[in-house]
Symmetry: C2
Subunit: 426 residues, 2 copies
């Protein structure tokens, strides 16, 4: 059923800084896209099936711009470690296990079930460097009804044995094989995205080949940028010929531009020339506030990026972030923006709730096209939120306050129904 009407209390972003709040309205889905939100249902839609969620709040679906699927099953462990011991104790040993297809199937099923139940309707996902396991993940994602970009990871240097690929040629050949397997599977909701892990784990030869693939196939790219100090110093040593970390991608055509979108996770420590390149190429920043806190990376200057007109969405970065919920990423983004204002740059005003909501919906959603709003023409991604009897109070709350309470206290447990591209997942 892709033509229907939902009656509900409706909230979405009227602009990057303002919420549209409709205490009683109708959201119309026609052919999987929004036909708009109405306070009175127009005659033209009067005969469509009506879903009555009038006691609930309807918001656009959220997008997770950065998440590591194989790390889901150990999320929240070792959050008191720093980046390197955490990678060595948890992330790398776990990813090594994905050469075992039965383990991969089991683990990815857990991840996809959790993502399906979550507040995210769309996600940009890292798999591992294992081609077959990555295909398993994509098939699970396709079945779920979620819309995603998923990437087989490339890493041919500076990685532990068992994870590091033989060489650049092997990594490229396997990437091409993975893309053609994706095509054979005929996946429509799950799209391939090139995923060089990050500069330190990719040789120039590999990056060169991936850039050629990006150009020839028009593929999008996801990776990491300027996450922490040691990493930035390493990139400087590894790539003396690049003008900065971003350029180490850009000189191989892996940094957006010419219609090829790219997401760079973190961007905590970008110098001004990298910021300029993010802006110029329309590259997306995946802001992962919890991961940047947990791994002691720092706080990304999101207010400055917003002022500069850089594209931004939110990422859970599971398992650097312990929580898969993009509602949690919203509240973490507000929280760290307060500390940024206090500790780093007093003139940098903190994020408002409305701004965090925009980043979680239309901000990140736009990587997928017209996604993250109920304006006419947007893909119909929607969440029905209801607190049930879980948040008793003697007070009366405004609609916006009711949303704030669910976002802070229930997070993804508030989601009672979910629609992606007009299809109801539950």
């Amino acid at each position: 059923m892709e033509n229907f009407v939902i009656q509900a209390q409706i909230i979405y972003s009227a602009s990057p800084t303002e919420l549209a709040v409709i205490p009683s309205g109708f959201a119309v889905c026609m052919g999987g896209k929004s036909a708009g939100v109405f306070e009175r249902l127009p005659e033209a839609y009067a005969s469509l099936p009506l879903l009555d969620f009038s006691d609930s709040i309807l918001i656009p679906g959220l997008t997770d711009l950065h998440v590591h699927a194989p790390q889901y099953t150990f999320r929240s462990l070792g959050m008191d470690l720093e980046l390197l011991p955490w990678l060595e104790t948890y992330a790398f040993p776990e990813e090594t296990r994905f050469s075992d297809l039965s383990y991969a199937q089991d683990s990815y099923e857990h991840f996809v079930q959790a993502l399906t139940k979550s507040s995210s309707c769309r996600a940009c996902i890292f798999a591992t460097a294992h081609t077959e396991a990555s295909i398993l993940l994509c098939k699970e994602l396709e079945k779920s009804g979620l819309h995603t970009f998923a990437g087989r990871v490339n890493m041919d240097r500076s990685a532990p044995e068992g994870l590091k690929e033989k060489n650049a040629a092997f990594s490229l050949k396997e990437t091409e094989r993975w893309i053609s397997l994706m095509q054979q599977e005929g996946l429509t909701r799950t799209r391939a995205i090139l995923t060089p892990r990050f500069i330190p784990s990719c040789s120039d030869e590999l990056l060169q080949g991936l850039g050629e693939l990006a150009v020839s196939e028009g593929l999008f790219v996801q990776s990491h940028l300027s996450e922490n100090e040691a990493e930035c110093a390493l990139v400087k040593r590894l790539c003396p010929e690049a003008t900065n970390y971003a350029d180490a991608y850009a000189r191989f055509n892996l940094f957006g531009g010419e219609g090829r979108k790219a997401i760079m996770a973190h961007c905590v420590l970008c110098p001004p020339d990298e910021e300029a390149l993010l802006k110029e190429r329309g590259v997306y920043v995946a802001h992962c506030p919890q991961s940047n806190t947990n791994l002691a990376s720092g706080i990304a200057p999101i207010r400055r990026y917003l002022d500069a007109g850089i594209r931004i969405g939110l990422g859970s970065d599971v398992a650097g972030g312990a929580h898969l919920s993009i509602f949690r990423a919203m509240t973490d983004a507000i929280a760290v923006s307060k500390l940024y204002h206090r500790l780093i740059q007093p003139e940098s005003s903190p994020l408002s709730f409305a701004e965090a909501f925009y980043l979680a919906t239309a901000g990140g959603g736009s990587f997928f096209g017209q996604v993250g709003s109920f304006e006419a023409g947007y893909e119909f991604d929607a969440l029905v939120l209801n607190e049930g009897d879980t948040l008793p109070s003697p007070r009366r709350f405004s609609l916006r306050e009711r949303l704030e309470r669910m976002v802070y206290h229930l997070e993804d447990r508030a989601v009672t129904a979910k629609f992606v591209g007009g299809r109801r997942l539950f």
Copy 2:
């Protein structure tokens, strides 16, 4: 029933930096106190009733060293505001309503129900300046079975009309009346604690009178200290004769010492001489990491305080903190310690999970005496934790990892049974 044995998987603090982990053990409660933890049950206890929680984890109860009861029902609202607009929009108008006893009853019932269900077995609680409403709160707390200190708030200056008390004499008289009402009620688990809101809202005359009361009645004290910059500057202007903010309490006998315990919430910006006084007087720091983040106060130097041997526990500071859970306070404390290490003091090592667990249990618990451990002689406060089928995974987890997962993902929803002073609350 105050004599019983619990069979479970048991975790408690072996020291401030180490967990004692007993995969299969027996915790013995005799007369409301712990008789110790045993891997094999000693013959002497073999005939006691046995509660079988062998599929669950048993940990000591947690203590919330700082929470505002009247603010509970609006927690999580306006977390994108700064301190002053937040106080004016939410905190002050809400507290004004507690002159209405029926509203107070309703609101405090919600708070006490939530605290009862939470992971906190003990708490140090601010009420408002309304004597009758404060008594209502104390009676609700007494019924709950929790062990608490609760304080009628004193504020005779710099507060909005409707909250500010007439004058110091009135505030003192009402405080004495409240204490005698507490005595008339014969409360045993709910103890009165002197609660000057903070220096800016208390005149010297009021502080003088409260100090005399503290000395004559041997009462403990709770208040706020060095939370944010504007407040510290204001205290400097208001109290030119005090050598520092702490001294503004100390010179009136409101800063611990001589067996009179005191808790100071926040301590984000204490200069060295205040730190020295905290240490010298054995004053407790209530570390409220979420509130300090939400209200853009900063990050308290907890590693430095620990190294200095200052007493520390955790506080939710609802509603400056949005979450009542001290499990959440643990993970927030670890998180902000990472940012402190990254952004303020690289040599300051982040808190470990074991350290945060200690602060939440024995650290804050010691304000109540021997509380927060299963060592023999401690009050028997205990939580039974079980994830049920909420955290499925193909991995096997160690006992400590299982605890980490519940703390991060389920927070207080992991608590399936709760004991305070040997009495089972649910």
